[in-house]
């Protein structure tokens, strides 16, 4: 049972990193990033491939963060200077392009069958301890990222991001280089998503293109919306609720439902969908909205 809780906790914390990333981009800056999974995938593949190639894992993970951040920069420069929400459309396309690169550039990524044998973090530690150590390391990383983002949000930089989110034209008129601020937010968030990907690769030891479909992006969006976009504590809560729904449906069969795997998968979608609709009806600003009061910012 402990092993199971640690396993869920590990996946949960990886999703927390993704949700924190999206909360910086959407909650603070108003960027509609429908391509979050691309940066998660780049992080996983870069760290996985480098480690398979003999790099020490910490170095490979650092490279993964930098690679994911670097991939976001041209995307930001290209789309964020355009008016309206071109990022939304282009990012989702970008994430599909990235996935098809994983699938088709077999010389590099081993193609659709995936990349096996990614070294595990703390691979030399004894069985029970190994997962615990990884979990603790991940938890530490989440705490550090959380604390740094909280500081950032309260800093002048964070305020300017929210100003841009609320009224981009006014921010420009007051001397803020809107494209630059938005790009920096996108790049930083993508670096965090890359870190999540690196942990994912060194936890599962096997990565394949089908793990990086747009579902991941939209699950994270749901977590952020349920939790309350704009507030980091809210999106952490939202992530745990999401994981509870996704994982909890596993136990439905224990309650006497006899469902096969695909039926369970479908049920999961239904449960998460209903939760999202209920949330929009009764807590439109999320469970722990920014600013304390139940504000209703359309999403």
């Amino acid at each position: 049972m402990t092993a199971y809780i640690i396993a869920i906790g590990t996946i949960g914390l990886i999703y927390v990193l993704l949700a924190l990333s999206l909360n910086l981009q959407w909650g603070q800056t108003g960027l509609i990033n429908f391509g979050l999974v691309a940066f998660f995938g780049i992080g996983a593949y870069v760290s996985g491939l480098l480690a398979v190639g003999g790099w020490p894992i910490p170095l490979a993970m650092l490279a993964a963060v930098l690679a994911a951040a670097a991939a976001a920069w041209p995307l930001g420069r290209l789309t964020l200077s355009l008016k309206e929400d071109y990022l939304a459309v282009i990012a989702v396309g970008f994430s599909e392009v990235v996935r098809s690169v994983f699938e088709n550039e077999a010389w590099l990524t081993r193609g659709p069958s995936g990349l096996p044998g990614v070294p595990r973090l703390y691979g030399n530690a004894p069985d029970g301890l190994r997962d615990m150590l990884l979990f603790m390391t991940l938890l530490l990383a989440v705490i550090v990222v959380f604390a740094l983002l909280e500081r950032l949000i309260r800093s002048p930089f964070g305020r300017t991001l929210r100003g841009i989110r609320d009224n981009e034209v006014a921010a420009a008129a007051l001397g803020k280089n809107v494209v630059s601020f938005k790009t920096r937010s996108l790049v930083l968030g993508s670096g965090i998503a890359g870190l999540a990907g690196a942990f994912y690769a060194h936890y599962l030891t096997f990565i394949s293109p089908e793990q990086f479909t747009p579902d991941v992006t939209f699950n994270v969006w749901i977590a952020v919306i349920i939790g309350g976009s704009g507030r980091n504590l809210g999106v952490v809560l939202g992530t745990f609720i999401l994981i509870l729904f996704l994982e909890g449906s596993r136990f439905l069969n224990d309650l006497g439902l006899a469902l096969d795997g695909s039926q369970l998968g479908a049920l999961r979608f239904i449960v998460v969908g209903v939760a999202l609709v209920l949330c929009m009806l009764y807590r439109p600003a999320g469970l722990l909205p920014a600013g304390g009061k139940g504000k209703n910012r359309p999403c």
Partner: protein
């Protein structure tokens, strides 16, 4: 201070600005009036870098600012406000001012995450400056309120305060009195006069003729994208052409 030369702008075949030239000096209020559709707001958008002109020149303190982005124009010391207030709605009134007042160079991710004593000092200084501005504009009581919940007049005051946080030398103010309750209107007039007396250069687009006549040192009347007449309020008020343009009276 500000020199605008022969600015033209057309949208498709529509000539919105047909060669506008004007100058404005420190310590002066230049009123810009004209019927709806005369091109007043477009003129502001061109001067402040939001819309590129089809031709002409804009110089601020002797340097062309024609190819600069709006944020670069603001950094050079010319800030505009908007006809319809564009407050940062989900943020507090105080934070609206603090966004405007922080220096874009110092606002980096690094200093935000790791900033030490220096960043804290800059932050404290900024807060003090913002609080002084709130006091000056009589907004202290609503400092912690969400900006979207302010009244129309308070939003206009907030816009003015936000612009002033940038330490501008030239202010372009688009319809300061639109949607402002009479009680606040007089306050706003006093604020604008005080700013002029402090040496700022103000360009004000306004439909409230009475207020603009009282405020302005000079007035430009814009009609169909051209300057019909420029002069002191008294000269403009007595000009037959102005009455015609506004009231559509029979040709003289």
């Amino acid at each position: 201070m500000l020199k605008v030369t022969d600015i033209k702008r057309s949208f498709g075949g529509l000539h919105v600005l047909r060669g506008i030239s004007l100058t404005a000096q420190p310590g002066e209020i230049l009123g810009i009036i004209g019927p709806n559709g005369a091109g007043k707001s477009t003129l502001f958008s061109v001067i402040s870098g939001f819309i590129p002109p089809s031709g002409g020149q804009v110089e601020l303190q002797g340097q062309s600012i024609l190819r600069l982005r709006p944020d670069q124009v603001a950094a050079r010391g010319m800030v505009r406000t908007f006809q319809v207030p564009r407050e940062f709605g989900d943020m507090t009134v105080l934070d609206n001012l603090r966004v405007a007042g922080s220096s874009a160079h110092a606002d980096t991710i690094m200093s935000g995450m790791l900033g030490g004593r220096k960043a804290r000092e800059a932050e404290a200084e900024l807060k003090l400056k913002a609080e002084r501005m709130l006091e000056r504009l009589n907004l202290t009581a609503v400092a912690g309120n969400q900006a979207s919940a302010l009244s129309g007049g308070q939003k206009k005051l907030l816009e003015l305060g936000r612009a002033l946080m940038v330490n501008p030398r030239v202010l372009l103010i688009d319809e300061p009195f639109a949607g402002v309750a009479p009680a606040l209107r007089d306050q706003l007039v006093q604020h604008l006069k005080a700013l002029r007396d402090e040496g700022l250069c103000l360009l004000i687009v306004e439909h409230d003729i009475e207020a603009i006549m009282e405020l302005s040192d000079r007035i430009c009347v814009l009609v169909e994208g051209s300057i019909l007449i420029e002069g002191t309020p008294a000269q403009v008020q007595n000009d037959r052409r102005v009455l015609d343009a506004y009231l559509g009276a029979e040709p003289a």
